[in-house]
């Protein structure tokens, strides 16, 4: 799928919903869990709040803040009518006018209250249109998949760097900052880098000032973004030799991940991918750990634009399609080991899920 084909699908969705105008809004606070309809429609990653207006006739405008960022937006989106503004709501309201057209709006639930409340007031009859945008963005475009491949390459190089430099005596923060910087030197414009260490981690959490110790288990979600497309690898490393128990449990997670990868084929619901991973753990007596509060999902979509097809969870019945990009990660808290990370980004092809990584998850030991 190309970007133009996606836009055509979005226009078809508008026609089906009898919308004259589609408004997409984003507040500029980019987050892995928050979809960005402005990015889906324009491929522009804004500094501040931004909006896209897509008309039934095909005209598309992009409003960006701060106003001085309009030139960058014009370079990025040569086909769009780009406007710079200091206040995105004022600019939107002025450009939309009050012609009685039927308006759908995407992004309101994810934007901050100050913007959402003013837009609701300005467009009281606008209907929610998340599905109009994101329904057409469940599968990635060819460019997005290419960017995800590059982001994955960067993630793997970031992981190699982590193995080189992670040592007892270094703080989690120091390691995270170094890795974030290193992946930037490789071309990543951002990185959702969750990283922590401990003798038995309760979860993967943002780094803090804790000094890593010999014997720690270091878990990292390395998630660079390349041209606005995230890809993630989930890895577990020991500082010093790993115990036999840890090796065994990690091998179990690798088997669960492979079961999930094998189960992910076009036409099946996402829930079946989760179920396939759970089955491996349940067979070893870890059934209770396959559900909240221990775990709520075994993977997720990858933004920054659309985060569809959503979570790899038992309650997600989205039918898998070619071109979908998502994480398969049976990350798991086990009583003997604490939290372990194991996961790959995959793209769905006609043959099934293709991991984007060259080297898949395996427990690594750093010699001290």
């Amino acid at each position: 799928m190309t970007h133009e084909e996606r836009l055509a699908a979005i226009r078809a969705n508008m026609a089906e919903r009898k919308l004259d105008t589609l408004v997409a809004i984003h507040d500029g606070a980019h987050f892995i869990e928050t979809p960005n309809p402005v990015f889906v429609l324009s491929r522009f990653k804004s500094l501040g709040p931004a909006a896209v207006v897509l008309r039934k006739g095909g005209e598309t405008s992009l409003t960006v803040t701060p106003a001085w960022d309009a030139e960058r937006a014009k370079d990025c989106c040569p086909g769009l009518n780009v406007m710079g503004a200091e206040d995105v709501v004022e600019a939107l309201t002025a450009s939309l006018g009050n012609d009685g057209s039927t308006i759908g709006i995407a992004g309101l639930p994810f934007t901050r209250w100050e913007i959402a409340s003013r837009l609701r007031q300005a467009l009281p009859r606008a209907s929610a249109a998340e599905d109009v945008v994101f329904g057409a963005a469940a599968a990635k475009t060819e460019d997005e998949i290419a960017h995800a491949r590059e982001a994955t390459r960067i993630a793997e190089l970031g992981y190699a760097r982590m193995l080189e430099i992670a040592r007892p005596g270094m703080s989690e923060d120091e390691l995270a900052v170094e890795l974030r910087w290193h992946t930037k030197t490789l071309g990543a414009e951002d990185n959702f880098l969750l990283l922590c260490a401990g003798p038995r981690n309760p979860a993967v959490a943002p780094s803090n000032g804790r000094i890593m110790q010999a014997g720690d288990t270091l878990v990292a979600e390395i998630t660079p973004s390349y041209r606005g497309q995230l890809a993630q690898i989930c890895r577990t490393v020991t500082l010093g030799p790993a115990s036999t128990d840890l090796k065994d449990k990690y091998e179990l997670l690798v088997r669960a991940m492979n079961a999930g990868i094998a189960a992910a084929v076009p036409g099946v619901p996402m829930s079946s991918v989760c179920r396939a991973m759970n089955a491996v753990l349940e067979a070893k007596g870890y059934g209770e750990y396959c559900h909240p509060p221990h775990i709520r999902r075994r993977g997720h979509g990858l933004g920054f634009g659309s985060i569809r097809p959503g979570d790899v969870s038992l309650d997600n019945d989205t039918k898998l399609e070619e071109g979908m990009l998502f994480m398969i990660h049976p990350n798991q808290h086990l009583p003997q080991t604490g939290y372990l990370l194991c996961g790959e980004p995959v793209v769905l092809t006609a043959r099934g899920a293709e991991p984007l990584t060259k080297h898949q998850s395996a427990l690594a030991e750093i010699s001290l």
Binding site: G28, A29, H30, I32, K45, A176, E189, S225, P293
Partner: protein, 373 residues
């Protein structure tokens, strides 16, 4: 100045009791109660992108998910942290607050907490404009239509304490080191990316919590964030660097060149003349007008055309603004970023400084380094 918001904050953010002891935070809350006389407490929101007010009262930087502080007028505060109970261990070192709980069922939690507060008053809301709509509805439902005291708290945040000024000076020293590293890279003919990253690395090595940069590919006419690698050297290179250290931001613009350039001379002179008129009681608009007059027939740079500076601290952009429409006046204790920019169709130049307003004038904490230009 706005730069790109990162998806996750990774830098060192642990609470440092030596730099900002608990009594500093208690004094801040006490000052808030003086402004919000009837308040039984405060509900304070913060997330990755907007958390200056939350950090001011709790020291907490929400690196991943949002947080909500419930600060009673009397008694111990609690901090509700997004992400569930298993995130509390990682969050604990980031704040002086001892009572941390998961941010779940906000409506129920806030209702019960508000009921528990003595005195019959109602809590006030801080940072509510930044909440996602669903959380805002929950809080409104739980606490009712309560007064938003964000702007009152911000008026307190303007006046920096001695401890805050010390931290801002550290941030300025880190900014200086970052721009010096960029200057060195530029002089040795490095690519634009390598120059920017050399500065970021230097800031990180000095303990920066966050570093954000913008640079120009078209002679300073426009600025852009890091989007992808730029392998060619660009000279001169207009850069913007913002560094955050121990919670507090410092920012600077500089024009870096391997050869001498006179492009910065006039903007730097205008900047220096602005320092001379900053003093408590002076309208911010006067300084904005002075800068506009100072650049004379030159065109203002689009980045600085509408705003010649702003207060800074725990947020990159705080009130008041230095703009011709501003109705504020300078106060002792203010910290500002002050900017002068000029541009034409071919090129642009911006220089800036960090200044602290004292009782009798201003102290330049960081000036754009002429030696790097």
């Amino acid at each position: 100045m706005l730069a790109m918001n990162p998806t996750l904050l990774v830098g060192p953010s642990d609470w440092d009791a030596a730099r900002m002891p608990r009594e500093e935070f208690v004094a801040r809350a006490t000052a808030l109660w003086r402004l919000a006389k009837a308040a039984s407490g405060a509900i304070v929101y913060g997330d990755r992108a907007h958390h200056a007010e939350l950090a001011y009262l709790t020291g907490f930087t929400p690196k991943l998910e949002a947080a909500l502080a419930l600060i009673p007028r009397v008694g111990a505060p609690r901090l509700l942290v997004g992400g569930g109970a298993n995130m509390l261990q990682a969050a604990k070192p980031l704040t002086w607050i001892e009572n941390l709980r998961p941010l779940r069922n906000a409506s129920e939690t806030v209702t019960q907490w508000a009921r528990e507060q003595s005195g019959g008053g109602r809590p006030v809301l801080i940072g509510g404009a930044f909440m996602p709509p669903a959380l805002r509805h929950e809080v409104d439902e739980a606490a009712g239509a309560i007064a938003d005291k964000t702007s009152d708290l911000r008026s307190l945040m303007r006046r920096k304490s001695e401890r805050e000024l010390a931290v801002v000076r550290e941030a300025c020293a880190t900014l200086d080191m970052a721009i010096a590293a960029m200057g060195n890279a530029q002089r040795s003919g490095k690519s634009a990316t390598d120059t920017i990253l050399a500065g970021e690395y230097a800031a990180h090595k000095r303990g920066a919590q966050d570093v954000r940069t913008l640079f120009s590919l078209d002679g300073g006419r426009t600025l852009r964030p890091f989007e992808t690698l730029v392998d060619r050297a660009i000279d001169p290179l207009q850069v913007y660097v913002a560094v955050r250290q121990h919670g507090y931001w410092a920012e600077g613009f500089a024009l870096l060149s391997a050869t001498s350039t006179d492009r910065v001379v006039r903007p730097a002179e205008v900047l220096a003349s602005a320092f001379a008129i900053i003093e408590p009681g002076r309208p911010c608009a006067e300084v904005a007008h002075a800068i506009a007059q100072g650049i004379g027939s030159l065109q203002p740079h689009p980045v600085t055309a509408h705003m010649q500076g702003n207060a800074m601290g725990l947020a990159l952009e705080e009130q008041p603004l230095i703009a011709t429409g501003s109705e504020d006046t300078f106060q002792a204790g203010d910290v500002f970023s002050l900017r002068v920019g000029v541009a034409n169709e071919r090129e642009g130049t911006i220089v800036s400084a960090m200044v602290a307003v004292g009782e009798r004038g201003c102290d330049v904490l960081w000036p754009a380094p002429l030696s790097e230009q």
